[in-house]
């Protein structure tokens, strides 16, 4: 008996390898106190190497690990977005209570683990890697949400996320099982072939229920209504650097597999599921936007807004065309920039005001700290889809893809959703710039009574940091993200090319 060692494409696997190695190093670093303080540096280095590997593999188009993974344009682009988000999150977490309390290295290890899950998920082309990646993404995140041990909200959000997320995972698994049964295969391409050939042993209706369950499971991850309810709670309760990571990176990775699974594996059934996804998208747009209207917590508002944005992005999948995927990836990229800018400012404001993300803490910021106000302003305008930001181009792209595929009503829904969204995005802008001068009382003098209750006995928060707006590692992400949101609003073509690189990867499967 001869043993054929599998051929391993190290180049193709390099991002995963780099990330895994980095993860090991970070975990080991926890042991040595003297190395501990370089944790963030190590993490950033890891991410940089990973990003380097991803860029190195820019033009790759390979099946790896016997078809369980696939590195191609889609995987590379969306992994990059996740890596960027993770890197920002590392920066924003420096000095954050969650990071300190959980232990810096542990925190970073969890983050890196989750990122590893994302990178795997972006490359997954088999149910197994799909599920593994998804869980590897989720489980560290559950823990991360709970890392601010002093805050009740943090723990609450961790538990809620865990339970709801697990229900989602279980639903997904159940759906996957059905599809396995229907197609007799686990590889995405094989599933498609099996579904087309009718190899499976399930009736059409059960197959479709399986499709539905998978959709539900993924909808949990990307927070699509009506499976969205964890989102506002977790966004609000989780430590802000985690929220920032979660908002952006989770969406990137989950949408990557969403695209791959639905367009590749379930491509033959596209006529069956498109209306369902369209309905979900529309519902998300409505629910997310109206839900955000009267929020006072900025993070919670961004949570609802995330639901709506997920709805917009889902519309890209509904079309089941390359253009749709392009638009989705473009929008996601823009979304990264706008969310990073917003969350960075939220982090800074939180530290300055003793961990309040109430919108009232932003009053008069435009006058006092324009350097903080501008990133948030641009982020809000971009999220609202106003020119000259990448958000506008993103919406434009989506609408174009939708109309091209005769989904005009969904395009109109996006338009309507955007109108509603002005109601809350601009409230933030108004607080920044248009609150009467007298009420803008500066940093320290925020009326404490109006803030949400903090944990008892924490009068003097040791993590409060009035000088947070001068920390480069907090301000730089905000400014860079703002610049990106503006730059790609004015000169969008590079980002369009980026997005089309993702779409091109699917040219075999979709029109």
């Amino acid at each position: 008996m001869t043993f054929d060692a599998p051929t391993i494409d190290y180049a193709g696997l390099s991002p995963i390898i780099a990330l895994t190695a980095g993860l090991v190093v970070i975990v080991l670093a926890a042991v040595f106190d003297r190395v501990k303080r370089f944790g963030p540096g190590l993490a950033l280095l890891t991410y940089a190497v990973t990003a380097g590997c991803l860029i190195w593999q820019w033009n790759a188009d390979l099946d790896l690990v016997s078809g369980a993974l696939r590195i191609d344009g889609l995987a590379v682009t969306l992994s990059l977005l996740a890596v960027i988000a993770a890197a920002v999150s590392v920066l924003l977490a420096i000095g954050d209570p969650s990071e300190t309390q959980a232990g810096r290295s542990d925190w970073l290890a969890l983050l890196t683990g989750s990122l590893l899950g994302m990178v795997i998920l972006a490359q997954a082309t088999s149910m197994l890697t799909f599920f593994v990646g998804l869980e590897l993404l989720s489980i560290p995140l559950y823990a991360l949400c709970g890392t601010n041990l002093r805050r009740r909200e943090s723990l609450e959000s961790g538990l809620k996320y865990l339970i709801v997320g697990s229900v989602g995972s279980a639903t997904l698994l159940y759906g996957l099982a059905m599809i396995y049964g229907a197609s007799g295969a686990t590889g995405f391409q094989a599933i498609a072939d099996g579904l087309q050939a009718g190899d499976g042993m399930l009736s059409d209706s059960l197959t479709l229920v399986g499709v539905g369950l998978v959709a539900v499971g993924l909808a949990f991850k990307v927070s699509i209504a009506p499976f969205h309810q964890w989102t506002p709670d977790v966004y609000q309760g989780a430590p802000t650097p985690v929220t920032a990571f979660m908002a952006v990176a989770t969406k990137a990775a989950a949408f990557a597999v969403f695209i791959r699974f639905f367009l590749v594996a379930l491509g033959p059934l596209a006529d069956q599921w498109d209306v369902m996804l369209a309905a979900l998208a529309a519902l998300s747009i409505v629910v997310g936007n109206v839900g955000a209207l009267a929020q006072t917590s900025l993070k919670r508002m961004l949570g609802y807004s995330g639901i709506a944005q997920a709805g917009y992005m889902l519309a890209g999948i509904v079309t089941a065309t390359q253009a749709g995927v392009d638009a989705l990836v473009f929008y996601l990229s823009a979304y990264v920039a706008m969310n990073v800018a917003a969350f960075a400012v939220v982090v800074i404001r939180e530290r300055q005001t003793g961990f309040s993300d109430d919108i009232s803490t932003l009053r008069g910021l435009g006058r006092e700290k324009p350097l903080l106000a501008w990133p948030l302003t641009i982020a809000m305008l971009a999220l609202a889809g106003l020119p000259p930001t990448a958000g506008f181009i993103g919406k434009l792209y989506l609408i174009e893809a939708l109309i091209d595929d005769d989904w005009t009503w969904l395009a109109v829904m996006i338009a309507i959703g955007t109108m509603i969204s002005l109601g809350y995005y601009l409230r933030v802008v108004a607080a920044l710039w248009m609150s009467p001068a007298g009420e803008a009382e500066g940093d320290a003098a925020i009326d404490t009574a109006s803030l949400p209750p903090q944990i008892a006995g924490a009068q003097a928060d040791p993590f409060e940091d009035p000088g947070a707006d001068r920390r480069w590692y907090l301000v730089a992400p905000a400014l860079i993200a703002m610049a990106a949101a503006l730059f790609f609003g004015v000169i969008p073509q590079p980002l369009v090319d980026f997005a089309q690189h993702a779409g091109d990867a699917l040219s075999v499967w979709v029109p």
Binding site: G385, P387, Y397, A415, T418, L422, L426, A430, V496
Partner: protein
Amino acid sequence: MLSSIIWTPLVFGLIGLLVPRRFTAWVAVLGAVITLGLSIGVLAGFDPDGGMQYVTDVSWIPGLGVDYSLGIDGVSIFLVMLTTVAWIPAICFSAMRSTERPALYYLMLLAGETSTLGAFLAQDLLLFVLFFDLMIVPFYFLFGVWGRDRGGEDDHAGSPGEGAVSVQSATLKMIVFTLIGSLLMLVGAIAAAVISADGGELTFSIQTIVARGLPEGSQNWIFWFFAAAFLVKMPAFPLHGWMPDSYRAAPLPALAVFSAVLSKVGAYGFLRVVLPMMPDASDLFQTTMLVLAIASIIYGSAMAFTKTDLRLVLGFSSVAQLGFITAGIFAFDSTGAEGAVLQMVNHGLVVVPAFLIVAMIAERTGSEELGPMGGLAKKAPVFAVIFLIVSMATLAIPASANFIGEFYILNGLFQVGAAWAIVASVGVALAAFYALRMYQLTMHNPLPEGSDSREISLRDALVLVPMVGIVVVLAFCPQLIIHGSEQAVDSSIAIVREVAK
């Protein structure tokens, strides 16, 4: 060349961020003046029979088929001139008064000019939509940051006056209303391009889309998506709900250009985009549009003579005037459309000084309410005469270019149906009433206690007199504009006339 016209204001606005505070305003003035100079240069080289000129066409987002494509024709040139002219008094007027956060203020004002010019010059449908949307952003800030809350006021005639208005809610209302239209327009624009491409190469070039044509069924809904955007922007009855609050809250110099120029983008859009691109739908909905236009005239006039807040009088008079313009465009007659174009320019030229005068009146009386006002002419004959000329031009007294515009519009309407013209002409009579009322109640009658009849200062006169001068010159030769724009107007309505036959 056109690019430099568009971007000069913004560049100067950004320079304003860098220079010391006290120079900011003058950098802005300089920027506006240079822009005017550039646009005069374009006008000098403009050939009225030359169709689209100074064309710039660069691929912008090839992935989406969007080009950075600019061009100017007989219609846009005068609106560009109006824009570059109108911004100067607004900026100068502000420059002579101290402004909070001047760098930001002038940046926003100039960004507003850039985007407005962009909308007038864009020859790519999406570029047009983009600039159209972009316009609202700087004005959102201008209104929001430099506007002020207004308390509830009695109108001194025993009836309940205007309610309290907060800047935040007013500006929110404005931007939501405006974007309702323009987002739908975005959908419509994309649909127009996609449908007209019909599987071929996607392009947003207005000319190409017009040449390719749209199927009738699609035209019908796309028409309304565009119309919604334009009617809100104007604003037209019954989509003017945002106007009163934001007009009351806005800072006057910004409001002047907003009312003078931005409202015209809507009318311009009808002429440039809707009629050529959707001729069948335009023909189909002609009656509806005329009803809306006439309703705007009557309703706007009725409101204008009932309101006591000077800003609202002017605001609703704009509703009425824009009604005339819309009616002229939808008459599908070369006199009507030409009258509309002429009236766009005229109205813009009149509204800017009108709002600045309101600001000066407020400086003298501390109020913008007509009720307790009066007698300001006492020691200010020059001021009064300037206002008188402006009022007379507002009510389109014959001998003003406004009259020629209105007359042509009425003539165009008459070709559609005598009843349209007769009903619209009621608006002319009402205009006489509200414009004169505004003038009389401020300038005439006894001077109440606390008001200060002060002659216009030399600096303010330097701002207003050139504007009034242009109004007077145009009164003598409206043909200047007519000659330049006739060919372009005719070609704009040529297709729809063909269809209407």
